[in-house]
């Protein structure tokens, strides 16, 4: 079942708030995790794990390192959930 970009963003914002304490309204597609949202590599792993639980999409470490912005994750989850 394909999710809309808005649905993925909403779910991702919840995860980021829970793990990194970043308020949902600050999580917008163009933001970078490291520089804009101050999220480090270990928190990215926690976000990937939580995203797997929420969206049913696995993001392996070697893919995770290329996901720099919120939009990168939205696109990755969107593509993977379509192909799944």
């Amino acid at each position: 079942m394909a999710m809309t970009q808005e649905e993925i963003l909403a779910g991702l914002s919840e995860i980021i708030d829970e793990i990194a304490g970043v308020p949902a309204d600050e999580v917008t597609p163009e933001k970078t995790f490291v520089d804009d949202l101050d999220i480090d590599s270990l928190s990215m792993v926690e976000i990937a794990v939580a995203a797997q639980d929420k969206f049913g999409v696995e993001i392996p470490d070697d893919q995770l390192k290329d996901l720099k912005t919120v939009k990168d994750v939205i696109d990755y989850v969107g593509r993977a959930s379509v192909s799944a």
Binding site: S41, L42, M44, V45, E46, V49, D61, L64
Partner: protein, 324 residues
């Protein structure tokens, strides 16, 4: 054929710990590699660690910790008939550390072996000791975790040199639950396992190499695969997480410790955070953390503690114990 009678259960009689004198702060490391106190505290939760002197050996630290545990147990060296040293950094491969440690403590002719399950080593050794007492192949066992990781660390590699440290912790294990004057069993069933598919995630490739760790992969594994193991150790012991007084995971990284504690579902339990001032001491971290918490009066006799060791292999082991 006749068999040993053994004992219904086993328990820990006393803990002991030892840390080398030299304190190495984050600022000291930041002077030689590109890092900072803030970075280290936020990524791994360590403020300072202890590093052994150049001539201080794994056996020296093991003897110091074990001597304290032995004194605390009220037993004499003659009462010990098995010595297990969990270590992944023995000074030499032959002879083993355990026999050397036993001789220096004045323990005459015990069974003695080293055990390598890396950072899970203490929980493996505690399970082996409990089984030996229950089977009757030993009556009183000295279980030691001792490491000198500093000699396997590349001090120019900022991803590992900030984490690993030196130290030792020990426990004396004896029979329980057999005769009416003995307390109830105090070491629960071990839940253990391994996954050799992840062998390359934490390793020292050969005798000329240093410790290598794929941090993100280890973090992902530790924060997703281990809380079910911890919970299973509780259920196999018939102990609810809500009844735990303390949770003592291997002191690998404060972020892993906190993630594991959140997923355990035991909000009332104290959580060992010895890593802040001890660093990651591999097989020594659990008994070292426990002995320091007991020394500070933070825990009481009879308290239930959940231990979980995990690390290279990967190997993991968890059990519930009652504190001496």
């Amino acid at each position: 054929m006749r068999l040993h009678e053994g004992s219904v259960g086993a328990r820990v009689l006393a803990f002991g710990g030892y840390q080398p004198a030299r304190i190495v702060t984050n600022d000291e490391l930041a002077a030689t590699v590109e890092t900072s106190d803030e970075w280290i505290r936020s990524r791994v939760g360590i403020a300072s660690r202890r590093i052994a002197g150049p001539d201080e050996t794994v056996a020296d630290m093991a003897v110091a910790a074990a001597g304290k545990a032995l004194a605390g147990s009220g037993l004499s060296p003659a009462d010990i008939d098995l010595v297990i040293v969990a270590t992944c950094t023995p000074e030499v491969m032959i002879p083993n550390t355990a026999a050397v440690v036993a001789r220096r403590l004045g323990i005459s002719a015990p069974g003695a072996y080293d055990l390598n399950a890396a950072c899970a080593g203490f929980c493996y050794a505690l399970a082996a000791a409990s089984d030996a007492v229950r089977a009757g192949s030993a009556r009183h066992v000295l279980v030691i975790g001792a490491e000198k990781l500093s000699q396997w660390v590349d001090w120019t590699d900022r991803s590992t040199c900030i984490i690993f440290a030196d130290g030792a912790g020990a426990a004396v294990v004896g029979p329980a639950g057999q005769e009416s004057d003995e307390p109830e069993p105090g070491i629960g069933p071990v839940v253990w396992g391994s996954d050799g598919d992840m062998a390359d995630k934490i390793c020292i490739k050969d005798r000329d190499s240093f410790i290598f760790q794929e941090g993100q992969a280890v973090f992902r594994w530790a924060t997703t695969a281990l809380h079910p193991v911890a919970k299973q150790a509780c259920s196999e012991a018939g102990v609810e997480p809500a009844d735990l007084a303390v949770f003592v995971p291997h002191q690998a990284n404060l972020r892993i410790i906190e993630a594991l504690a959140r997923r355990l579902g035991a909000p009332q339990a104290k959580v060992a955070n010895d890593i802040i001032t001890a660093g990651n001491t591999s097989s020594a971290s659990i008994p070292l953390a426990l002995s320091r918490m007991i020394e500070r009066g933070e825990l009481a006799s009879g308290d239930k503690a959940l231990l979980i060791g995990f690390g290279a292999g990967v190997c993991y082991a968890a059990q519930v114990i009652k504190l001496p």
